[in-house]
């Protein structure tokens, strides 16, 4: 095992997939010569050249749409949005074209495109740059939606996303890029590579008293909350990492709730129509008899992202609010 940053793990996934399949191309603003606004694609242009790693103008609707068109012919474009917030500019191409053409063509056309980039607030860049749109993307059948919480998952899930024949919306977490996790060398793995199929959740921490269900960076917040719960309150929290929102691994969620009988659904979405709304509703429907308390939710506060760093921190889920929610039901 070695320590690898989230950004470096993603870069390895790109590098390996560029090597594996000549149809894979990386595109986006500053991904090539500048090495990526967040340095996720660093070094790849130098290694793979102009044909495979391509700088685009600031033109989200144009270049995402171009990627969709190319994917219809079998190219497998991995398109970077400099911030996921800019899906708003490319909305039509992502949703109407990538997401719907398969259905409207009666299954004749596939779009094996990955749209990726940093999402989530917490970096003090104001409301327009702090979207957390996985609930919006997951709203549309036809698209898949991935939100890795650590470097190991980021690498394995990215490789799955690139090989997927459906459009995959891949949301990285800006604040995690520099953090490091243990990631095995390919040679240490039985299959020779790190690959995580979409639609498989992961229990990041075992527990018996309450299930904290989250994805993306919120998983880390839950892990911190779980530590506090154990150390200060003697409560054993299980942390379920969804990893992908679509497909959603409900079995793992339900299994956890049936064991702990209590659930808190956590995300960084705005609370209205958030991913946690969906999860809470599903648990209510399917695990009603197993619950000892109402399902709880923690999302961002219902306001655009504050710029002022201290206040933005208070808007996002933080360990203490999760702890308080848990104490209310345990």
């Amino acid at each position: 095992m070695r320590k690898l940053s989230y950004r470096h793990a993603l870069r390895e996934a790109f590098d390996e997939e560029l090597a594996r399949d000549p149809m894979v191309v990386l595109m986006g603003e500053e991904v090539a010569q500048y090495n990526g606004a967040y340095k996720v694609t660093e070094g790849l242009w130098k290694k793979w050249g102009d044909k495979r790693v391509i700088d685009t103008p600031i033109s989200e609707a144009g270049f995402i749409g171009m990627g969709v068109g190319a994917s219809m012919l079998g190219v497998r474009p991995v398109m970077e949005l400099m911030f996921w917030s800019f899906y708003t500019v490319a909305w039509d191409q992502i949703i109407n074209n990538a997401g719907m053409v398969r259905y409207m063509s009666g299954g004749q056309i596939n779009c094996p495109i990955v749209v990726r980039g940093p999402a989530n607030g917490g970096t003090n860049v104001g409301a327009t740059h702090s979207h957390t749109p996985e609930n919006i993307m997951a709203q549309f059948p036809g698209m898949k939606c991935v939100c890795p919480s650590n470097a190991y998952d980021a690498k394995g899930l990215m490789k799955a996303a690139i090989r997927d024949n459906d459009p995959v919306m891949f949301m990285e977490s800006t604040k995690l890029y520099g953090e490091e996790w243990e990631v095995p060398e390919n040679s240490e793995l039985p299959e020779g590579e790190l690959f995580i199929p979409l639609g498989v959740a992961d229990v990041k921490r075992e527990g018996t008293d309450v299930s904290l269900i989250a994805h993306g960076r919120a998983v880390l917040t839950c892990l911190k909350a779980a530590k506090i719960l154990e150390e200060e309150h003697g409560i054993s929290a299980e942390v379920v990492d969804l990893r992908t929102i679509r497909p959603l691994d409900e079995d793992t969620i339900f299994e956890s709730v049936r064991k702990t009988h209590r659930a808190v659904c956590v995300d960084e979405n705005k609370p209205f129509c958030a991913v946690s709304s969906q999860i809470a509703a599903s648990i209510g429907l399917h695990c009603f008899d197993d619950l000892d308390a109402p399902v709880q939710r923690v999302s961002s506060l219902d306001a655009p992202a504050f710029y002022s760093p201290k206040l933005e921190e208070l808007q996002l889920p933080y360990p203490d609010v999760i702890v308080a929610k848990v104490l209310g039901i345990c």
């Binding site: 749409g65 992908t244 497909p247 969906q278």
Partner: protein, 358 residues
Amino acid sequence: MSAKNAAPVKYADAPVNKALSPEQKIKLYRDMCRIRRFELVALKHYNSGKMGGFLHLYNGQESVAVGCVSLMGENDHIITAYRDHGHALAVGMGMNECMAELFGKKTGCSKGKGGSMHFFAPDKNYWGGHGIVAGQTPLGAGLAFGVKYKGLKGCSLCFLGDGAVNQGAFHESLNLAALFDLPVVYIIENNGYSMGTSQKRSSAYPGCLAERAEGYGMKWELLNGEDIYEVRARVNEAMVRAREESKPMLLEVLTYRYYGHSVADAMHKKYRTKEEIEKREREHDPVIIFRNHLINEKVLTEKEATEIDQAASKEAEDSGEFAEQSPLPDPSEIFDDIYWEVDNGTEAGQTGRHFFND
């Protein structure tokens, strides 16, 4: 580069037209008649309430789709907006599957999931049928990207209406196409109106629409679409250039639609006069113009031309019957064709839930 400076050319004598055999010319004529007749039968059934949604008819513009498609080779691709029946029939889609799609039947080309605006035949390099104005224009660049990336000598033809030129996506597409040297030919079918709004009321720039290509360092041409020989001669140059030099081009084809924007467009005799429409039908009809060409060239007799038209009419009527008699899609099909993974029953398709119909 602009049309007004171009020397008059007898387009029938352009090499690409000279090279046509009589059979090929007859096919062009037949294809135009098929589109014309298909639309009329569709209109009849729409008016009797057998279809849902919109019906944007292509009558008056037949020379454009047929002319352009007749130039396509195996590595060329085509994509268009919602006024897509003409292009669909021109690439060789069957009337039955097209009509059945309008009726929302299982036998439709998109199994009843697309409707009038969303015909597709990727097996014929036809990538639809797109309902969002200008939404297809980046895809057109993407198809060209795909062709180029795979090292093939081909191009993509991307059609749009005159109303689409004011969308940002269109301008982004031109910029990308020129920047990346993509072999795409954008073809504005300028039928004078975007719904009820004339070019004068929607375009700040006083020049012709294609001239906007100048801003992207891209070549452009303005051409008259009423004569299919002119369409073929001039579009061919753009396509050859795209394939040979991998350069994009913007063409504006002047044409006309006889009917309203859609059949539901009750206003269309208000924003343009009856006289205007009748004059176009009388003096500039592309089907009649080509028919006259062929008779003058002795490729067809009057009688033969009429027979071709009648056969097209019969084929269209039959497709109406086929559509009417076809079964509706089964409700179980609602969840088909959403995810490749699910449809193909792969192992990965078994993991996680794709749908949330609790």
